[in-house]
């Protein structure tokens, strides 16, 4: 059975309102641009989106905020998005702020069949409210639960038709964990190649985690903070 789809519109088939979606990326780096555009077109609403950030006003997940398709975000940092801030302060958007490392581990655990884990992060803070606290070797830890999604969307540099993925530089970020934590994981890649063209030793995400793959197009790869050396 082929995992290859023609484009994002076909690959996201099955999306429905009220689903939980996991999306790779850090800021605008390594985000599944094509899938986000297709999700906007799909019109699915009341979505819960798990992503480290919420994009900017007119790009990334900001597009789905603008169209008011998101009812809840689970993120670690949402500071670059005025639309987000307004919807949240107006009470139109529910937000679960999760420490970045805890978010990464909750996704990793979700994909790895671990229902919950103890972490020192957030002990004594708002994050610890209503969570079980336990001491190990004299230090306090809180219990954090795994996250899984109905669909997971990742962006890789190269992928083969079996779903093996290689990410590029810091565009890897949350993508490998998110790939493992979706009931259906959809990968969009810049270069789709045949099995055997990727070196097995170099694969970051083995194809078992990926159910659908397509070659993306028109990547904008927007830069949030262009910083260059003078010399």
């Amino acid at each position: 059975m082929s995992k290859v789809y023609k484009n994002a519109t076909e690959a996201i088939a099955g999306i429905e309102s009220n689903m939980t979606l996991l999306l790779g990326g850090f800021g605008l780096c390594g985000i599944p641009e094509n899938c986000i555009a297709a999700l906007k077109e799909s019109g699915a609403k009341n979505l819960t989106c798990v992503s480290n950030n919420a994009g900017v006003d007119d790009f990334g997940l900001g597009l789905l905020l603008q169209s008011r398709q998101i009812k809840k975000m689970i993120s670690s940092y949402v500071g670059e998005n005025a639309t987000f801030e307004k919807q949240f302060l107006d009470g139109d958007l529910d937000v679960e702020l999760t420490p970045q490392g805890t978010l990464a581990e909750r996704l990793r655990a979700g994909g790895a069949g671990i229902p919950a884990f103890y972490t020192p992060t957030g002990v004594g803070t708002l994050v610890a409210e209503n969570k079980e606290e336990r001491e190990f070797d004299g230090r306090k830890f809180i219990l954090e639960k795994a996250i899984r999604g109905d669909f997971a969307y990742v962006k890789a540099w190269k992928g083969d038709t079996m779903g093996n993925l290689i990410y590029k530089k810091t565009a890897r970020n949350f993508n490998p964990m998110i790939a493992t934590a979706g009931r259906i994981t959809i990968a969009e890649v810049e270069h789709l190649v045949e099995p055997g063209e990727l070196e097995p030793d170099q694969i970051h995400t083995p194809g078992i985690f990926v159910q659908r793959i397509f070659q993306g197009s028109h990547y904008e790869k927007r830069i949030e903070q262009l910083t260059i050396s003078e010399s």
Binding site: F26, C29, G79, Q100, A104, T121, V123, G124, I223, I228
Partner: protein, 218 residues
Amino acid sequence: MGLNRNQIAQRISNEVEDGFVVNLGIGIPTLVANFIPDELDVVLQSENGLLGMGPFPSKENVDADLINAGKQTISTVPGSSFFSSADSFAMIRGGHVDLTVLGAMQVDIYGSIANWMIPGKMVKGMGGAMDLVAGAQRVIVAMQHMDKKGNSKLLTNCNLPLTGIHCINKVVTDMGVLNIKGQQFEIIEVAPGLNPEDVLKATEGKAVIHPDVKEMTF
């Protein structure tokens, strides 16, 4: 009077030791990298997935797939490595990072820090800060001693939502350097032109002047 942002960063760079892996937060902490002496072997960790962070790239080498945790375009150095966010926070939470430098809105005599939220006003999120203060071997705070209204930001108890408890060892402000131990601030250095008593007065939480307090030089 008082240190500027670069001077705060320069003073903090003295805390960086040979062989350290260091994670620098956004703002003044980022500037610390500019003052780390070349002869020290120091590796900069960026929590979005880069160990061995280099300077900003030249115009030709800008790559949208290569950014730091502040979302700035960046470069690598010989020996750099890339990894996932889960691996990155295994480094941080697992105690493999020697030093982190973070900004703060408040710190207190218990070594607690608040730097991620003002209820009803600012909802940006904690990003990696809670993991960093929980996991890094040493945590140094770079901050202004007082807010714009002249209120001290070095308190008996933080009143903003906390980022972490009992985790700050040292604070470097525009007015001086203070250790936090034994539930009090200890003023160990003061900015050029300031008296230790000035720093004491500007510190709301219990503070003492170290007997060997000295004036900083630049």
